[in-house]
C-alpha cells in the first residue's frame, strides 16, 4: 500500500477540556449575573438565597432572597434561554447555508420582530395593563411571519439554488420590513424612544412571566436543532452530493428554517434584537469541538447562553444605576472578538 506523503497531523481541538471550561464558564456567568446589578451581592449571599428557596436552608438575608428570586433569577434564566436559542439557531442556519457568516436573523426574523413590536407599542398595548406581554407576543408573531414570507419569496425564484434564494430573499424582505418599521416610527415619534430601546435589546424588567412565554418555543427549537444535526453533517459535502447520499435536502431546508426561525423569534420576544450572539456562539463552539453538528449544536447553545448572560450582567452593572441596552454590549464585545476569530480562521474552513 502506498502511504501518503503527508502525515496525519491533527489540528489541536480543545475537546473535553473545552466542555469543562464552557461548563465552568456557564456556572460563573450565571452566578455573576445574579451578583451584579444596582445592588451588588456577594456570591455567598447569592448561594444562600438560592439555597433558602430551593432547599429551605436558613441563614439567608430576606432582602437578598427577594432580589435574587424576584428580580434577578428569572432575568438571568431568560438571558440564558435567549442566548441558547440564538446560538443553536445560528449553528443550524450556518449549517444549512454552509456559510459561517449566516446568523439567526438571516431569515428576516429581526425585522419581522421589530415590526410586530412596533405595531404593539404604537397601538399602545405596551402601556395598558390589560394585555401584559403584548409586545413580546406581537414580536414573536412578526418574526415568524417574516421568515415565512422569506421562505415563500425564495420559492418563486427558479434561476438560483433554493438555498441561495433564501439568503437573498432574507436580505430583501428584511430591508423592506425595516423600511415599514421606519415609516411607522416616523409618523409616531412619541414612541420613538421605546421602539429604539426595544430594537437594541434588553432584559430590563423581565420576569418569570416572560420566561414562561419564551422558554417553550426555545426548547422546541433546541430539540429540533439537535434532531437536525446528522443531516446537517451530511449537507457539509454540498447539496447535490447530500442528495446522492440519500438526504432529502428540501425537507431539511424546510425544517432548518422552521427550527431556526422559532428559536430566533423566541429570543427576540424575550429580549429584543440582540446581535452577534447567534454569530459568535457557533464560532466559539466550532473552535472547541470542531464542525460536526451533533456536538456543535449543543455547544453553540451553551456558548450563546454564556455570552448573553454575561452581556446582560455587564449591561446592568457597567453604568449602574443606568441600564445599557444589552445589544450595545454584545456588539461592543462581539465585533472585536469576531474580527479576531476571522483573522485566526484558516481560509479553507471559511467561505
Amino acid at each position: 500500500m502506498k502511504k501518503s506523503a503527508r502525515t496525519g497531523l491533527r489540528r489541536p481541538k480543545l475537546g473535553v477540556w473545552g466542555f469543562l471550561v464552557l461548563g465552568l464558564a456557564a456556572v460563573l456567568a450565571f452566578l455573576t449575573s445574579l451578583c451584579l446589578g444596582s445592588v451588588s451581592l456577594t456570591p455567598l449571599e447569592v448561594l444562600k438565597a438560592l439555597g433558602a428557596e430551593l432547599f429551605g436552608l436558613a441563614g439567608a438575608d430576606p432582602i437578598s432572597v427577594t432580589i435574587v428570586w424576584q428580580l434577578r433569577l428569572a432575568r438571568s434564566l431568560l438571558a440564558a434561554v435567549a442566548g441558547a436559542a440564538l446560538g443553536a439557531s445560528g449553528a443550524v442556519l450556518q449549517g444549512l447555508f454552509r456559510n459561517p457568516l449566516a446568523d439567526p436573523y438571516s431569515m428576516g426574523v429581526s425585522a419581522g420582530a421589530s415590526l410586530g413590536a412596533v405595531i404593539a407599542i404604537v397601538a399602545g398595548f405596551s402601556t395598558g395593563v390589560s394585555f401584559i406581554g403584548a409586545v413580546e407576543i406581537s414580536s414573536f408573531v412578526g418574526a415568524l411571519a417574516a421568515s415565512f414570507l422569506v421562505y415563500m419569496a425564495a420559492r418563486v425564484s427558479r434561476r438560483i439554488s433554493p438555498t441561495a434564494a433564501l439568503l437573498l430573499a432574507g436580505a430583501a424582505v428584511g430591508s423592506f420590513v425595516s423600511a415599514v418599521v421606519a415609516l411607522i416610527v416616523t409618523f409616531n415619534d412619541k414612541d420613538l424612544h421605546s421602539v429604539f430601546y426595544w430594537m437594541l435589546g434588553g432584559f430590563g424588567g423581565k420576569g418569570w412571566k416572560d420566561l414562561a412565554t419564551a422558554a417553550p418555543a426555545a426548547a422546541i427549537s433546541l430539540a429540533g436543532a439537535l434532531f437536525l444535526a446528522r443531516p446537517l453533517d451530511v449537507l457539509a459535502a454540498g447539496e447535490e452530493t447530500a442528495g446522492t447520499l440519500g438526504l432529502d435536502v428540501s425537507l431539511l431546508r424546510r425544517l432548518a428554517v422552521l427550527t431556526a426561525s422559532l428559536g430566533a423569534a423566541a429570543a427576540v420576544a424575550a429580549g429584543g434584537v440582540v446581535g452577534f450572539v447567534g454569530l459568535l456562539g457557533p464560532h466559539f463552539a466550532r473552535l472547541i469541538v470542531g464542525p460536526l453538528h451533533r456536538r456543535l449544536i449543543p455547544l453553540s447553545a451553551a456558548a450563546g447562553a454564556v455570552l448573553l448572560m454575561t452581556a446582560d450582567a455587564l449591561a446592568r452593572s457597567v453604568a449602574a444605576p443606568l441600564e445599557l441596552p444589552v445589544g450595545i454590549v454584545t456588539a461592543f464585545i462581539g465585533a472585536p472578538v469576531f474580527l479576531h476569530l476571522l483573522s485566526r480562521t484558516e481560509r479553507s474552513t471559511s467561505v
Binding site: 501518503s4 496525519g8 447520499l245 440519500g246 460536526l292
Partner: protein
Amino acid sequence: MSPYKPFIEINRAKDEAPQAGTAEAKSPSAKSPFPTSLDQDLETKTAAFALEAEALSVGYPGCAPVISDLSFGLQRGRVLAVIGPNGSGKTTLFRALAGELPLSAGRVLVRAQRDCLDIHRLPARAKARLITRVLQNEQSAWAVPVSDYVQAGLFAAEGWFSHDPARAAKKTAWALEAMGISILSKRPVTELSGGEFRRVVIARALVQDTDILLLDEPTADLDLEHQMETLELLLDLAKTGKAVAFSVHDLNQAAMVADQVLLLAEGKAAAFGKPSEVLTAEIIGQTYRSRVFVGKHPAADIPQIVPNPGWMERVSAKRRGTDS
C-alpha cells in the same frame, strides 16, 4: 493501494455464527455473498440488468433535449465507460440514472433482489441505497475530519435517527484502508490535496456500498499512478458483482478497463458496445470531428487511440521550426 476486498466481515458477524467466520474468510469463494466465478454466474444473473434505461429523455420545455431516447443497460460485474465530447450529456445522464433529474420520457428500472423498481418513484434515501453517484466536483463547507466525512456514506442506510457508532467506525476504517488513506483519517478534508480528496470521496462511495456505482470522471484530477489505481478499483468493484459506470474524457482509459463503452453525442447514443467496436477511427473521428489514429495497445489486445496524426505532423513541423 491494496486490492479492493468487499466489506463482508460485518455481514458475517451479524448473519452467521461466529465460528463460521474464520475458516471461510480464507476461502471467500466458499461463502462470499458476492459471486467469484463471475462469468458462469453472470449468465444467469445478468440475464436481467442491474439497471436499465428505457427510452430515456431529459430536457426542459422549449429547449433541445439534453438526452433523447436513450436505451441501454448496466450489468452486474461489468464496467461501462461513458464517453463523448464536452456537453454531450454525460453528467446529465448520470443524474437522470440516479433518479435526481425528472425525465421527460422513458424510465430507469433498477433491480434489487427480486424487485424491479422505477428509480424516479423512490424517496431520496431508497435511491441512495440502490445507486451511488460520485460527482465530478464537490467541496466541503467545513473542516470535517476525513473519517467523519466518509461516514456520511452510511446516511442512506441509517437515516436521520439510527446510528451504530461501532459499525460505522469499522466500515469507515475498511473503506479508508481499501483506498490506502487510513493515515489521513483524522485530517480535515479541507486540507487535502486534490488527489487525496478524490480518494476520500471514493472511500465514502465504498461505505455507501450499493450494487450500482456511477462515477463522474473519477480520474479527472489524479496523477498518473492514482489514475491507474482508480481504474483498477473500478474493475475490482465490478469483480465483486457491482455494476459500475464511469464517465471519462481519456478514450484510452475507457479502452483499458471498460467491458462496454457508451459513446454519447448530443444526448444520443452514437455507439454502444465493446471497446473494440466503439473505439474505431471512423466512429471517434465522426463524433469528435477530428481524425484519430487507432492502433493496438502494446501490452494488451485493446485499441489505443492517438489523437489526430495530421495535427501532430503540423505541430512537429512548427517545433522543428522554433528549434533551428
